[in-house]
Each structure stands twice: as C-alpha cells, then as structure tokens.
C-alpha cells in the first residue's frame, strides 16, 4: 500500500519526543540546548533524506498500530506533507538558536520546560504532516494543542492563564466539538479515514447539505487555522515568549490548522466532489472575509506582535482560499504559501522579539527611529514585510502570483480583487513601520545612541530567514516543485 515501506516517517516524528528525557535530565543549560540542536538537526536530516524519493513521485509510509477496524495509526509521506515537514523541521533549528538568545537574554524561568514542550510540539507538527489518515492527523493535532499550552502560558501570570484558557477552548473545544463528530460521520459513510489523492467521498450518497455541513465542521473545527470567527485565540496567544509566537504561531501550529483543512478538502472530500457540488465557493468567501477583516484589524494595532498575529490570520486564509479555488494554480499557490509565508512571517516575529530583547519595546508607536539603532534587524523586517505583501524580491510574490492566476482560472473576479486589495492593506500596515524606523527625524527618535542590536543568537537567525525569504523568489525549490506535485496529484494539471 506504500511505494516504499520505511520507518523513517516514524523516526522523524519520534526523534524530538525522545530528546525530551535528555533535555530534562541535562545538568547544565548548554548541554540541554545541545540536545535540542542535536534532535533538531537529526530530525531535519531524516525529513530531508526522504526528499529524493518523494521528488521522484514515490510515497514513503509505515503502519504503526491498528486501533479501530479500518483505522490505523499510520504515516505516509507525500509531496505536500514533506514540504510542510521540511519547513517546520528546518525552522526548528533556526528557532532553537533564536530561543537561546531570547530566553537567556531575558533570563526567563522554566527554560527546561520550555525546551521540552517545544520538542514535543515539533513531534506533533511533523506527525500531522506525515499522517496517512484523518485519525492519525487528529491524534497529532490534539497532541499539538496540549503540548503548546505550557508554552503559551509560559509566564504563569494572570494574563497567561486567561489566554491559555482561550487557547484551549478554541483549539481543543472546536476539535472535539466539530472535527471529532465530522470524522465519525465520514467513517460511518465510507468505512475508512485514509487520505486518497482524489478524496474518499466520491461515490457515497451524501446530499449537498450533508457534505457542506461536514466541510464547514472541518474548516471551523480546525480552529488552529484561525478562520474567523474562531480566530481570537491567536492574538491572545501572543502572551507567549516570542520564539513560541514565531515558530508555533506563525509556522507550526497555525500551519497545522490550514494543512489539516487543505488535507481534508483534497484527501477526504476530493476536489472533484467539491466542484460538482459547487462547495468551493462558500469556503472561498469565508476565507476572503477573514483575509480582509484580518488585514483591517491589523491596521489598527499598536502592539507589534498583535499586529503580526492579525496579519497571520489573514495570510492563513490565503492558503485555504487557494485550496478552495479548486483550480490547479490555486491549489499550488495555496500549498506553496505555507512555505513562503513561513519564512517571511517568522522573520518578522524574530525581529519583534529582537527589538524587545534589545529595547524592551512592544509597541509600534515607540519604535520610531529604531532603524538607525538596529539596522540589521530592521532591514530583515523590511524584507520579511515585502514577502508578506507579495512583492519582489521575496518568495511571497510567487505564491501570490499563483493564487492570482488560480482565481483567474476559476473565473473568480471578486477573489482577484480581494487578493490585490489585501496586498495594498498589507503594505499599509507594514510600510509605515519601516519608514518611521529609518526615516523619522532624529529629534523624534525614541532611542538613545548607546542602544545596539540584540545578542548574536537573536540576530543571526533573523538574518538567515530574511535571506531565505529573498532567495525563495530566485530558487523556490524544493518547496514549489513539491507544491506543484501535490497539486497535480489532487487536482490534475
């Protein structure tokens, strides 16, 4: 049933989990972080080692346990899953370096707990990416919700407590309340939960209403994707230390949400079924509303991390929108946006954290003139912002280009307008920050001369991710090719 049977996917998932005992038992912080780096490097190596086979079009998989009739805990690595796993496991290495700079720079408490749950979260993320069926995906999805709770609430104060509550209520509440029953109904209808390239619902006798209701139970139920109105956990989760916001709430957790939705749309429902029932449009417009509303709210934020969170909410819906276009270019663009947005947005969060470490400032209004004190950070910020807006010379341009073409393919002019207008809005909330950072008159600058860049461990990662964001425009592989392969498999060309 798999092209290549191999335990590599399982190993890739477990490596970071197995690092946890070592992290906990380490006597010195340096040793502890060495374990994190070792696990991260190994994890990335194992994930990357599957690239050649997947590049050739093969799928790698293994079955771990049969837990229910017709339902297994099983892994299957295809182009889409591998693309996401590559992004997540690579960025874990970078983020680990950044975490050291940030957590030690601020002398945070509970760092052992922090690094442990970070490792667990990455296990769950790659588990979702490699899931062969909806059940396995659900298992790792829940694991991720729970493993990130101690990270979101890291500060253990009243604000963290109420944010953590919101976080759980939205992410776990909706997965139990919506995804679980929807999954069971699918299981009863089809007798299987395995992802198939053209979906498993084809041929079952479901009315449009039933399929539509199930579809939306997934779209809203995977609340990590922050589709409005189930988005407000994400700004609340910004109480977490910035590396958590950067990797988890710009890359791993939220992308697990959209990944799950895209996977369900393509692997469970199937693009053909959704086109024939014309169920793409409702999802399309739900996503469009989130894109516009998220951008508008972002305009009005003064707290930099909150602004980035609303920007993320909008950008996540690009991915859902791409899949819901149900056209080859649209699906490619949506999937590729997972990678493109990841590098841009993580750069922005790294910058926000670096500014906080160096200056203690959180609000945009206090950052006038900061470009002269932290030129490297703010240049990286500029590049990251360009990528999110979708302008050359950054990778974000490519995925947006495909999304635009996809909406033309689908004949969805309103969506085209939404995409272009949203780019304008993105520019409207990012560019003033950059402008004021570099070009505000010296007498208005909020900073004294002696301030400089954040520690090297903070700055190096954000330089790396910013450079990659630029590089992705000129050499978008392997991500783009994987996205195209994945789209070809689920919708044809």
């Amino acid at each position: 049933m798999y092209d290549i049977v191999s335990v590599k996917p399982l190993v890739a998932v477990l490596i970071s989990l197995l690092a946890v005992p070592a992290i906990v038992a380490s006597r010195s912080p340096n040793l502890r972080e060495a374990w994190t780096f070792l696990a991260a490097a190994l994890k990335f190596a194992v994930v990357a080692s599957m690239l050649p086979a997947v590049w050739r079009g093969a799928e790698i998989g293994c079955t771990v346990a049969r837990v229910l009739p017709g339902v297994e805990i099983a892994f299957r690595v295809d182009a889409f899953g591998l693309m996401f796993a590559l992004v997540a496991s690579f960025l874990w290495i970078v983020t680990s370096a950044y975490s050291i700079g940030y957590m030690r720079g601020l002398n945070e408490h509970g760092q052992t707990r922090y690094f442990s749950f970070f490792a667990v979260s990455l296990s769950a993320t790659v588990g979702v990416a490699f899931s062969a069926n909806l059940f396995t995906l659900y298992l790792f999805y829940e694991m991720l919700s729970l493993a990130t709770y101690p990270l979101v609430t890291h500060h253990q104060d009243q604000e963290a407590r109420s944010s953590g509550r919101k976080y759980l209520l939205y992410t776990v509440g909706s997965s139990i309340g919506l995804v679980l029953p929807a999954m069971l109904v699918i299981y009863l209808l089809t007798g299987t939960l395995d992802f198939a390239s053209r979906g498993i619902l084809a041929g079952t006798t479901g009315s449009r209403t039933l399929v539509g209701v199930l579809l939306f139970m997934f779209v809203f139920g995977f609340a990590k994707a922050a589709v409005m109105p189930l988005h407000s956990w994400l700004p609340a989760a910004m109480v977490a230390p910035t590396p958590v916001s950067a990797l988890l709430h710009a890359v791993a957790v939220v992308k697990v949400g959209v990944f799950s939705i895209v996977r369900t749309i393509t692997g469970i429902f199937g693009t053909d079924v959704l086109s024939s029932l014309s169920l793409g449009e409702p999802v399309l417009y739900t996503a469009a509303v989130t894109i516009l509303a998220g951008s508008f709210v972002a305009l009005s934020q003064d707290n930099l991390k909150r602004m980035l969170a609303f920007s993320t909410i909008a950008q996540l819906s690009y991915i859902i929108l791409g899949a819901a276009l149900l056209t080859p270019k649209g699906v490619t663009g949506g999937m590729a946006h997972i990678a493109m947005h990841a590098f841009g947005k993580i750069t922005l969060f790294f910058c926000a954290g670096a500014i906080f470490v160096a200056t203690g400032k959180k609000n945009i209004s206090e950052m006038a003139g900061i470009g002269r004190r932290m030129p490297v950070t703010m240049t990286a910020f500029f590049l990251g912002a360009l990528s999110i807006i979708g302008m050359p010379p950054c990778g974000g341009f490519l995925s947006k280009w495909y999304l635009v073409q996809g909406s033309l393919q689908a004949g969805q002019m309103p969506i085209l307008v939404v995409l272009l207008f949203s780019s304008l809005l993105n520019a409207a909330y990012f560019m003033p920050i950059v402008y004021r950072a570099f070009f505000c008159p010296p007498e208005q600058a909020a900073f004294a001369e002696r301030l400089g860049e954040a520690p090297l461990f903070c700055v190096a990662p954000l330089v790396i991710t910013a450079l990659i964001s630029v590089g992705l425009l000129f050499y978008p592989q392997p991500f783009f090719r994987l996205a195209m392969m994945a789209a070809q498999k689920v919708i044809g060309m």
């Binding site: 837990v67 408490h109 829940e142 139990i176 679980l180 029953p181 299981y187």
Partner: protein
C-alpha cells in the same frame, strides 16, 4: 490445576482473606505481603483463564462437580474473562500503590483492613465469573457488605453516615434484583443462567417475566449509581479512605455494568431485551440525563474526589447508554469502556490518594504549584485526565469512538451530543485543576534560574509512584491495543444477532 482455574479465582482470595486475619494475630506486618501474594495469585489465575478462553472458547465449570441445574456453575467467556483480569489487576495495583496510605491511616487495624479488602475483591470476582443468578446475589452481598465496612473506616465524622446511606440504598438495589430472580425462578424453576435462557423464550409475553426484567434492571441501576439513582455514590466515595475509594470507584460500578450486560444479553434474549420490552429508547434518554447531570454536578464541586465521583456518574451514563443503543458498536463501546474506565478511574483516584498523602488536602484548591512540587504524580494525573477527556491515543478516546459511532448509527443524536458535551466539560474540569497546579501560587517569572525556596520537589514515595506511573502508561497501552481487545475479545461476547 488449569482445569480448576475458574474456581481458584474465587477460592484463593476467599481462603486468603481468612489467612490474613490469622496472620494479623501474629504480626500486623504480615498482612500486606500476604494480601499482595493472594491478589497476585488471583491475577495470575485470571490471566491464565483468559488465555484458556481464547484458546478453547467458553469455559464451563461446575463447583464440586455438581451439575446444573442443581449445582452452581461458573461460566467464562471472552468478555468476563477480560473483566476478571481487570478486577484482579486493579485490586493488585491499588494494593501496591496505597500501602503508605493504609499504614498511615490503619496502622493498628491492618488485619481487618486487608481481610475486608481481599473479601471485597473475592465478591467482585465471583459476581463476574458465576453462571448462577442466585449465587450472583450472594456474591453481590459479600462485595457490598465488605464495601460498606471499608467505606465506614474513613473520615470518622462523615464516612459512617455515608456508609449507612450506602447500606440502605445498596440493600434496596440488591433486594430488587433478588425479587427479579425470584420471579424468574417462579416461572422457570431454575437459577442457572443458561437454563433460564433456554426456558425463557417459551414464556414470551409472560407478564411475570416482564416484571422480573424490570426488577432486575431497577436493582442493577441502583447498584451502579445510574442517574438519578446515584445519590448514595458521591458521599460514599468521597468520604471513604483514599485507599478504599481508589479500589471501589474503579471497580464497583463497572462490575455492575458488566452484570447488566450479562443478564440482558445471556439470561434474557437480546430480541426480548431490545425489542419486546421497549425500554431501550427510554434507557438511552436516561443515560443522556446521567451524562449531563454527572457532568454538571462535577462542575459544581471543588472537592477532588467528589468531582471524580460525579465524573463516574457520567461515565456510567456512557456505558448504560451505549449498551441500550442495542447495536454492535454501542455494546462494544460499553464493554470496552468497562475496561478503560476502570483503568482511568484507578489512575486519577490513585493520584488523588498520592496528593492527599503528601499535602493532606482534598480540595482542588489545595493542589497549588503541584506541577513543580510533585511533577511525576501530577503528570500521571494529567494522563488520566486526558484519557477521561478523550484525547487519543489514551484509551478513553477509543471507547468514546465506539459509543459515538453507535449513537450515530442508531440515530440517537442526543446521546452523541451528550458525549461530546461531557468531553468538553471534562476538558474544563481537568484544566481547572491543571491551572491551579500550574499557575498558583503566582511566581515572579523573570526570577532567578532554578526553583524559588519553598517550592522544591517533594515527590511521593516510590512505592506509590511506580504503580501510579504504570497505570498512566497503561492507559496509553490500552488505547493502542483497543482494536485488538474489541476484535479478539469483546466481539465474541456479543450475540451474533446484533448488528
């Protein structure tokens, strides 16, 4: 030896209980090792018996060689073989894990305590294994009377009254069951379950049989604490000594649910139970009420053990409702949940006992800062909580899966809704505790590296921790093997006519 396994399962602990009393007259210290040896023997016999059932099919055994319908017959099929293992395993793990608690509370009364403990287990094992309707009543009383005594040994202010209440309600329940058995005896002239089952179809439509059925159900519902007949349960379990509540809470209600499944499927015919009687729909609705009621009552208390007890009330609703769905998925879910709920209840009650041993408080507000003070116990408690919430791959998820699919297949959407609602309430219940243990007392978060003074680690003794952690790990193992458990054991115990 192997041929007598069904008998040994009851005889070993029965005789052992008296040996404990004798040993106590020599030295109190002898009681614990003796009880551990006896329960290990019972567990080994139970596992051996289950292996034999798997290899040879249903095992019939006639006590003292008297053939039915005169003698008492034991009958073991894959399902009660499984329940026997659960009972023996829970009793043994709890015995090992609560030794420090017992020595602290009953240092001068070790003999009576362990005698009652082992007799209680004897009663439960007998209830599960017997194939005789009247013998079941006798064993029910053995388990109940020892249970009252054990509960009464708790908090001197409250426990005796709670025990008394339990005696009254338990006696009424047992008497109702006995009345039912009496009616059945009147019309069939036999007490052997298989005999009764063979003779009942000829009496279809008999009002006496219907009355007997109603009495049996009513008695069993009272004994298992099925809402709204649960009123005796919260006080009995929450005022009992910690070592007793972690024994009785996982076992008593679950064994009664098993008895219900046994009587309804093998004594009465499934067609009669689900068809002629026409009570299925009503029972499912009562189960919905039990789930909602138990969940809401659990939200309303801050006493840890009482909260866990209300969760049991809801869980009994899961099992009863699943069974009365009358389809294969529902009954499988109910049977699987007997095992899973026993394991996860044991886990959280053992953890509650551990907290009580170290901090002395019983309210959830006493658990402040425990993630730092007792990280291992708290982690085990968290696994138990997640299982009760129903997070995969812990076992609680899988029984819920069967129950929900049964509910969807039967079109009982209220039951499905109640299960999902209860999962969400459980999420709130456990995270309320996790929050207290994680966030309080408020600490400076930019403080120095390392723990502030006064919050150093204070874990429970190893002999409590090891059984607790093993139970928590067992919850995951049970989850991963739930597919096997259903296909190899539970499936074979459900009559073929049920789809």
């Amino acid at each position: 030896m192997n041929a007598n396994l069904p008998e040994l399962i009851v005889i070993i602990p029965l005789i052992g209980a008296f040996l404990i009393t004798l040993a106590a007259t020599v030295h109190g210290k002898l009681c614990f090792p003796l009880a551990a040896a006896i329960l290990t023997g019972a567990l080994v016999s139970a596992v051996g018996l289950l292996g034999r059932v798997l290899a040879e099919g249903v095992v019939e055994y006639h006590l003292a060689g008297w053939r039915p319908p005169w003698g008492i017959g034991y009958r073991v099929d894959p399902l009660n073989g499984l329940v026997l293992v659960v009972v023996a395993a829970v009793a043994l793990i709890n015995l090992l894990g609560t030794r420090p608690l017992v020595e602290k509370d009953f240092g001068d009364r070790l003999g009576p305590f362990y005698t009652l403990y082992v007799l209680f287990v004897t009663g439960l094992m007998g209830i599960v294994v017997t194939g005789d309707a009247f013998n079941l009543y006798v064993l029910l009383e053995i388990a109940a009377i020892t249970g009252y005594a054990l509960i009464g040994m708790g908090n001197p202010q409250r426990a005796p009254l709670a025990g008394l209440n339990y005696i009254f309600m338990g006696t009424i329940g047992a008497s109702l069951y006995l009345l039912g058995v009496g009616y059945i005896y009147l019309v069939t002239g036999t007490l052997n379950m298989m005999d009764i089952a063979a003779r009942l179809p000829a009496l279809a439509g008999s009002r006496l049989v219907m009355t007997a059925f109603i009495f049996c159900i009513a008695g069993l519902c009272l004994k298992m604490g099925f809402f709204p007949l649960h009123a005796w349960l919260p006080n009995a379990y929450s005022h009992a000594p910690a070592a007793v509540s972690s024994l009785i809470a996982p076992l008593m209600t679950k064994v009664m649910v098993y008895v219900m499944i046994r009587i309804m499927l093998t004594v009465f015919d499934p067609g009669f139970t689900f068809g002629t009687m026409g009570v299925s729909r009503g029972m499912v609705w009562l189960a919905v009420a039990a789930i909602l009621g138990g969940s809401i009552l659990a939200l309303g208390t801050r006493h840890l053990k009482r909260m866990l007890t209300y969760i049991i009330v809801a869980e009994v609703g899961y099992m009863v409702g699943g069974f009365w769905l009358g389809n294969r998925a529902g009954i499988s879910g109910a049977a699987l949940h007997i095992v899973n709920d026993a394991a996860m209840t044991l886990c959280v009650f053992l953890a509650a006992g551990t907290f009580f041993y170290k901090i002395g408080g019983e309210s959830i507000d006493d658990l402040q800062g425990l993630f730092r003070k007792m990280p291992v116990s708290m982690a085990a408690f968290a696994v138990g909580g997640l299982s009760i919430i129903g997070v995969p791959p812990t076992c609680g998820f899988f029984s819920k899966w069967y129950l929900i699919s049964g509910g969807l297949a039967a079109g009982q959407y209220a039951f499905v809704g109640a299960l999902l609602f209860s999962s969400l309430v459980n999420l709130a219940l456990f995270f309320r505790i996790f929050e207290i243990a994680f966030f309080e007392p408020f600490q400076e978060h930019h403080g120095a590296h390392g723990a502030p003074a006064g919050t150093a680690r204070q874990e429970a003794p190893l002999q409590m921790l090891v059984p607790l952690v093993l139970t928590a790990l067992g919850l995951v193992a049970l989850g991963l093997y739930s597919g096997d458990m259903v296909s190899r054991l539970i499936e074979h115990a459900i009559p073929a006519g049920i789809v």
